[in-house]
């Protein structure tokens, strides 16, 4: 692996550009380099690992038990990548991915590194941009003191920082237990874990139970769940949540079994599962479908994780949530196919080499459906019933405003909603409001999220400064002149 810290040192084009250095991206880049492709792995973080293995080579948290064995497995994936002949650009933000009109079938990628922007070419692209937390819009979620559980995890992994004061963790999903156990082990004072998993989900998930019982999730998950439940105060069957406080969070209101209880706290961590991070794939024009089981928009991919745009593949949780182990396997599979598209592998050779990995992937994903069905959030946590709940934090748009526009102005989709309320037009590009806006429109108009569709996202997928853009070399020839 060759690290690059100066954008001018990047090649003009690569056989393959991989975006994101989580398990999928690291594995894809390593495999593709081993197959002889020229590979650039671009990632916006300072160190490899992505979200799940964030800072695995640099974390100040050295007590192995705090983050758990699964976390430290990431070190092997990073080590393998470091041995591969790929170029690695950390702190590098990819903000645009478009077809190259001058060379149809290949791509132009806009990226920024250390305050400078450049456009480079790629014959193949693998997006390994992973997942983001599903928005969890409850009243008061914009108060200081409320944050997502994932944000708390970033602080823990990258800087060894844990929330201060009395902490409440609320929501649902397998990661909720993991985070509660990691934070508790790191010394956080957790006063309650509020479980919003709807009780009815157990019935819905029952049909998928047999697969789950044979899956690797089971042993791991149960152990974690039992251990965490034994140590912490667990409140299940929570049907309503609101963060309260004047200038900052002082308490959380919990509705349960028809009664409301108040818990005093200093920090509230919200989490109701993860969904694919679709901004780059969406802006690149890849088709997305609404996945009913995971209840989110997911890029349309084939069994090689190729998207609807020829030459762009999507590996890892970005192609539908499957977890860290499956992400690494998906990255490998996508890399085999990239090599086949470039003529470096025959289809037969690709199939032969990928077969054991595909089999492992299937084993790895067994039982996923059970988790998807069990931890599907309750409707009131997807489309907030209270009209004054803010759903777009960038533009401060409320649930009531979206309902009103859908009803009174006949707004049928999120793209039109932008023109009326500006939701989705702030710097987050809809990451925090998109799923909720879709839910609210669907609910108000009596239709489904699949029918409503999602935002058409625009580049730059991550903000780029005017200065970076103004300094963009006018032609590739000019870049060469500078490099010389």
């Amino acid at each position: 692996m060759t690290p690059v810290s100066d954008i001018a040192a990047l090649a003009e084009r690569y056989d393959l550009v991989v975006v994101g250095a989580g398990p999928a991206g690291l594995s894809a880049a390593a495999r593709a380099a081993d197959l002889g492709l020229s590979v650039l792995l671009a990632d916006e973080n300072p160190a490899p690992g992505g979200q799940i293995y964030r800072a695995v080579t640099t974390t100040p948290v050295t007590e192995r038990a705090v983050l758990g064995d699964d976390y430290w497995r990431g070190a092997d994936i990073v080590a393998r990548f470091e041995r591969a002949a790929a170029t690695y650009a950390p702190r590098c933000t990819v903000w645009s991915l478009t077809d190259d009109p001058a060379a149809p079938g290949t791509f132009e990628i806009g990226l920024s590194l250390d305050g400078k922007a450049r456009i480079i070419g790629a014959a193949q692209v693998i997006l390994a941009t992973g997942a983001q937390e599903r928005p969890f819009p409850v009243p008061g979620w914009t108060l200081p003191g409320v944050m997502t559980a994932g944000a708390a995890q970033i602080a823990l992994k990258s800087a060894g920082i844990v929330p201060s004061g009395r902490t409440v963790i609320a929501g649902c999903g397998p990661l909720l237990y993991l985070l509660a156990s990691q934070l508790a082990a790191a010394g956080t004072e957790i006063v309650a874990v509020l479980d919003t998993t709807p009780r009815a989900n157990w019935l819905k998930a029952a049909a998928a139970l047999p697969d789950f019982l044979r899956s690797p999730y089971l042993a791991k998950g149960m152990k974690l769940m039992v251990a965490t439940r034994a140590k912490l105060r667990f409140v299940s069957g929570v049907t309503g949540l609101a963060a309260a406080g004047k200038d900052r969070l002082t308490e959380v209101e919990v509705a349960r079994g028809g009664r409301t209880e108040t818990i005093a706290c200093d920090t509230l961590l919200l989490h109701q599962g993860v969904i694919p991070s679709v901004n780059l794939s969406n802006a690149a024009g890849c088709a997305h479908d609404f996945d009913e089981a995971q209840h989110c928009f997911v890029p349309r991919v084939d069994s090689w994780f190729a998207s609807s745009v020829e030459g762009i593949a999507i590996a890892g949780d970005g192609a539908g949530i499957g977890g860290a182990e499956s992400a690494a396997l998906r990255g490998e599979i996508a890399a085999f196919d990239a090599a086949r598209r470039l003529g470096r592998l025959t289809p037969e050779e690709r199939d032969r080499q990928a077969a054991p990995i595909s089999a492992e992937l299937e084993r790895c994903l067994r039982g996923r459906r059970f988790l998807d069905l069990l931890y599907r959030p309750a409707p009131q946590f997807l489309s907030p019933p209270r009209d004054d709940t803010i759903i777009c934090r960038c533009e401060e748009v409320t649930a009531g405003q979206v309902r009103d526009a859908a009803k009174r102005l006949g707004v049928v989709g999120p793209n039109q909603m932008k023109a009326f309320l500006r939701c989705g037009m702030g710097p987050c590009q809809g990451r925090l409001c998109g799923p909720t806006v879709v839910e609210l429109i669907a609910e108000t108009r009596g239709t489904t999220p699949a029918e409503v569709g999602y935002y058409r996202l625009r580049p730059p997928v991550k903000p780029v400064t005017l200065a970076e853009l103004a300094a963009l070399p006018a032609t590739e020839g000019a870049v060469k002149a500078v490099v010389r």
């Binding site: 645009s96 478009t98 077809d99 009109p101 132009e108 806009g110 456009i119 024009g285 102005l409 006949g410 049928v412 989709g413 039109q416 932008k418 023109a419 009326f420 500006r422 037009m425 702030g426 710097p427 590009q429 625009r458 580049p459 730059p460 903000p463 780029v464 400064t465 005017l466 200065a467 853009l469 103004a470 963009l472 006018a474 032609t475």
Partner: protein, 375 residues
């Protein structure tokens, strides 16, 4: 098959701001109207343009239509029950040097001779007062004080909703396959069945050449994709919309502090796929121009860039008015990336021509007959 009437007095093809405005004004004149749109109202150029409501620097052939339109813009809420986000803080054309300024003087003198008074010269002092952030080296410019800006998709949808409330049958998501004569009527064949009317309006924007060709009036329309980009909110520093005399740039700060940068650099339109490809190297040219002229913008962050698909004619003038070949066919397209301001007035004039056969607003020089192959 979609529900609603299959025949009407008028069928309008295309629900951009022009199609919606013409449909609305026809309905106000008591005509029954079917409005057909392949996507949704304002999906393309009408919904994603810069929102400029501009008379400044228009070709003289368009000024009468533009005048009619400006009257409507200044009372837009009375017409469509929505202010469309319209604000009027003027538009200013900046001269970057003495040669630019001389050209501005000639232009304003020519307009005055023709009896148009909406453009006025301003000196360096007034320019700096209106646009404090502009570079010290600019010697002056031209202002059109009644100009301003609106929110494009909101405006287009307001016209659609008002038209619908007056009985216009709006069919969105319905694609016109072909148009042909059927006795005294025109038969508009769509993927949702046929529609019949004695009069049809071709307001199909970047796709209008296909309808025109079907009617035996081929035109040299070029689909184009004009690129725009917008910044994160910045402290308020500019009220009017600013355009440059000599370079491709337009510039507008909204009330929420975001700054829209556009002006005319083009990406690649893929009109059969309903999408565009941005050209960041050209957007970088806009960024450099802004960097030079507006030092205050040097810390700005670009959060979004996009392009809409529009139809451009070789002379940059719209095709507006009755067909050169057929009774009952009217064209309203090819606005060449400056049609948004014209929409409200052009719809009123078109409805008048359809209903009465004539209009007092001159439209000379805009007919389809100016393209030889259309005869």
């Amino acid at each position: 098959m979609t529900s609603g009437p299959r025949s009407a007095d008028v069928i309008v093809i295309g629900a951009g701001i022009h199609g919606c405005s013409t449909a609305l004004h026809c309905a106000m004149r008591g005509l029954s109207v079917v409005l057909i749109e392949k996507d949704h109202a304002g999906r393309h150029a009408s919904g994603v343009n810069a929102g400029g409501v501009r008379q400044l620097a228009r070709h003289v052939a368009e000024i009468p239509l533009s005048d009619a339109s400006m009257e409507i813009w200044h009372r837009i809420a009375e017409l469509v029950d929505d202010d469309c986000g319209f604000t009027s803080d003027g538009q200013v054309m900046v001269a970057e040097d003495e040669a630019d300024l001389e050209a501005c003087r000639d232009r304003v003198a020519d307009l005055n001779l023709r009896g148009f008074r909406h453009e006025e010269m301003i000196d360096a002092k007034e320019l700096r007062a209106l646009v404090p952030a502009v570079s010290e080296t600019c010697p002056g410019g031209v202002i059109s004080r009644r100009d301003g800006a609106a929110i494009p998709l909101r405006a287009t949808q307001a016209f659609k909703r008002k038209a619908e409330s007056l009985g216009v049958a709006v069919h969105e998501g319905v694609r016109v396959k072909t148009v042909r004569r059927d006795g005294a009527d025109w038969r508009v064949v769509t993927d949702a069945g046929d529609f019949l009317a004695p009069r049809i309006v071709n307001a199909a924007g970047a796709w209008a050449d296909r309808i025109a060709a079907d009617l035996g009036e081929p035109v040299p329309l070029e689909p184009i994709a004009l690129m725009l980009m917008i910044t994160a909110p910045m402290a308020a520093f500019i009220k009017p919309v600013v355009i440059l005399r000599g370079r491709v740039l337009s510039f507008k700060q909204f009330d929420n502090g975001t700054v829209l940068i556009g002006g005319g650099h083009r990406g690649t339109p893929l009109r059969d796929e309903n999408r565009t490809i941005l050209d960041w190297r050209k957007l970088a040219i806009s960024a450099r121009t802004v960097w030079e002229l507006f030092p205050i913008m040097r810390d700005a962050t670009i959060v979004r860039a996009w392009a809409g698909i529009e139809g451009r004619m070789p002379d940059d003038l719209p095709v507006f008015g009755p067909s050169a070949r057929h009774e009952g066919v009217y064209h309203q397209f090819g606005f060449s990336a400056h049609g948004f301001q014209l929409g409200p007035g052009a719809g009123a004039v078109m409805a008048e021509i359809i209903a009465t056969g004539r209009s007092n607003v001159p439209i000379d020089g805009l007919g389809i007959g100016r393209f030889p192959q259309a005869h």
